[in-house]
């Protein structure tokens, strides 16, 4: 009764050739409706699905895409993946996930392992630890690829990003309007365009309001949580900032802890604002003013873009899609 069910078996039981079966399954115009129905119903009865390896080997299509991100345990990326998955399902594609942990070597190693036909295309959000655009300049010629959020600006490639500069400017202005004059900047994302854009928005907003930029108020992110906590404490003790503007979510916890430790009242003594997709931002003590990126939509758009490429449609479309983030004002900035 059983025994592996493959296309040959279907052909035998129906007394037709395997070519006919294959074409019927792929809804080819060469096959009559009658035969198609016979094939389909037997396939269903026997629970037949084509062997992916064989199909892929012959057709050079995998129905699989890869997502390469720094870390999955991050609100932004897990939401983005959710957005990607939704589109992948719609197109019947499978999704491979790779985490680089911000390690450029790993990032390249994963990517290279996908170039032998394992996937049809790649969605990637690059690591912030090194800027190797040479590698990606070659890569985009080899495989359909869409960058999202963490992109390489100079590259002639498809990119989905957000209005980092503008929203950062707006957010800084908000702090200024709330009366802050010494706004510390918690710097993340290294040399990536997103990191630089957020920083520029901050500096330009200061400048536009006649506040001089002070590099002593800028703190760089460390991958060691404890170091960040210590650095923030030190920042408070040395510079007495009246606000913290964090460019990444990872600073939130140490920032709040430092305030607790130093008995600083938020927002009375210091105001806090951060880029974040943390769902509990509204429940923090006090609730946190955030810049929230449309993470799900970014994933969604990136995937849509990739499938456009895979289906050879709209390649002439604009290569850059920029989505808007939103500033959600809450108690941590006071006003």
């Amino acid at each position: 009764m059983s025994g592996e069910v493959n296309i040959k078996r279907l052909a035998q039981e129906l007394n037709i050739s395997i070519a006919t079966v294959s074409k019927a399954l792929n809804d080819s115009y060469e096959i009559s409706l009658k035969t198609k129905n016979r094939v389909l119903s037997l396939a269903k009865e026997l629970n037949y699905t084509p062997n992916p390896a064989a199909s892929n080997l012959r057709s050079n299509k995998t129905k699989t895409i890869a997502v390469i991100i720094p870390c999955i345990a991050n609100n932004f990326f897990s939401l983005a993946i959710k957005g990607i998955e939704e589109i992948a399902r719609k197109y019947g594609h499978h999704v491979l996930i790779y985490q680089t942990h911000e390690d450029t070597e790993m990032e390249m190693s994963f990517t290279n392992s996908l170039l032998n036909g394992r996937v049809d295309g790649i969605l990637t959000s690059v690591s912030s630890n090194e800027y190797n655009s040479d590698y990606y300049r070659d890569l985009v010629k080899k495989i359909p690829l869409v960058f999202f959020d963490r992109v390489y600006e100079s590259l002639d490639a498809f990119k989905i990003t957000t209005d980092d500069y503008q929203i950062s400017f707006t957010a800084t202005e908000h702090l200024i309007k709330c009366g802050c004059l010494k706004i510390a900047y918690l710097y993340g994302l290294g040399n990536l365009p997103a990191g630089r854009a957020r920083f520029s928005g901050y500096k330009d907003a200061l400048n536009a309001h006649g506040i001089s930029y002070d590099e002593n108020l800028v703190l760089n992110y460390s991958e060691d949580e404890d170091v960040n906590l210590d650095n923030i404490k030190k920042l408070f003790q040395d510079q007495y900032p009246d606000a913290l503007f964090s460019s990444i979510e990872e600073f939130i916890i140490p920032a709040y802890l430092a305030c607790n430790y130093l008995q600083l009242q938020i927002p009375k003594d210091v105001k806090i604002l951060s880029f974040s997709n943390m769902s509990s931002a509204k429940l923090l003590n006090p609730s946190l003013t955030t810049i929230t990126q449309p993470a799900f939509e970014i994933g969604n758009e990136a995937a849509k873009c990739l499938f456009k490429i895979l289906n050879k449609r709209g390649i002439d479309d604009d290569q850059n899609i920029v989505l808007k983030s939103s500033l959600i004002k809450r108690a941590s900035t006071g006003c």
Copy 2:
């Protein structure tokens, strides 16, 4: 110069047969060290990696595993995936991710799509919406599979779980010791063993301390956030509980919001305790007492278990691994 590089090309350039190349690449004992080195170095030079589809088709090995979970944008699952990925990398395997969104139909559909040789094995955390153990009873005979966290108890299969009953008992006792007498239970996970175990721990702890169980204090989870919020408000207005014990993270935000809305002070008027892997639990207002599952380790153990099966080792080992969760006492329970 270029042109697709495959095993035939390597063979030609080295003037040996493709069989020899293949064996050399797979480190076969039949091949001399000298030839192996020649092959390996040319492969490296040409950036050759075997075509996965061809390899898989012939060998019936995919070097790929699948992870099927309800939702990736959930702290527990994203951490678990991180744990899974770590092991998968160690074994050089790729990881496919599927989200069921608690939809049993989707869950079965995804799973079925993996039975034609797309993956070597599956890690799954089942949906809570329906209890279809018949399906899984058949499934485990067809493909290597390990359940984690959300398992089917009765099944003769590999399962990685946590001490839900015991930790739930302990947590309930903690609330009782803090003086609570009307502890409401926010019920999640439907009919799954984890859901029932957590509930039993709660009830048995009440019983052990001479507190009678009141079903009016039990609230069931709804997938609609607003409904949960309304239900919690209603619960407060009708039953005046002095504590909320939530069996899933999803109740936290509506619970806090309801308290805010009704001007109930935590922990003075009502104490809150919840299962959760939320990293910001310590920053909530007030900080939240949690039962935290070792999510990363669960993923880790589940993956290890799967690779044991795939490598046909230790099949005689115990099929069930139970890890310990921890009760982290914070301000929301007061004492």
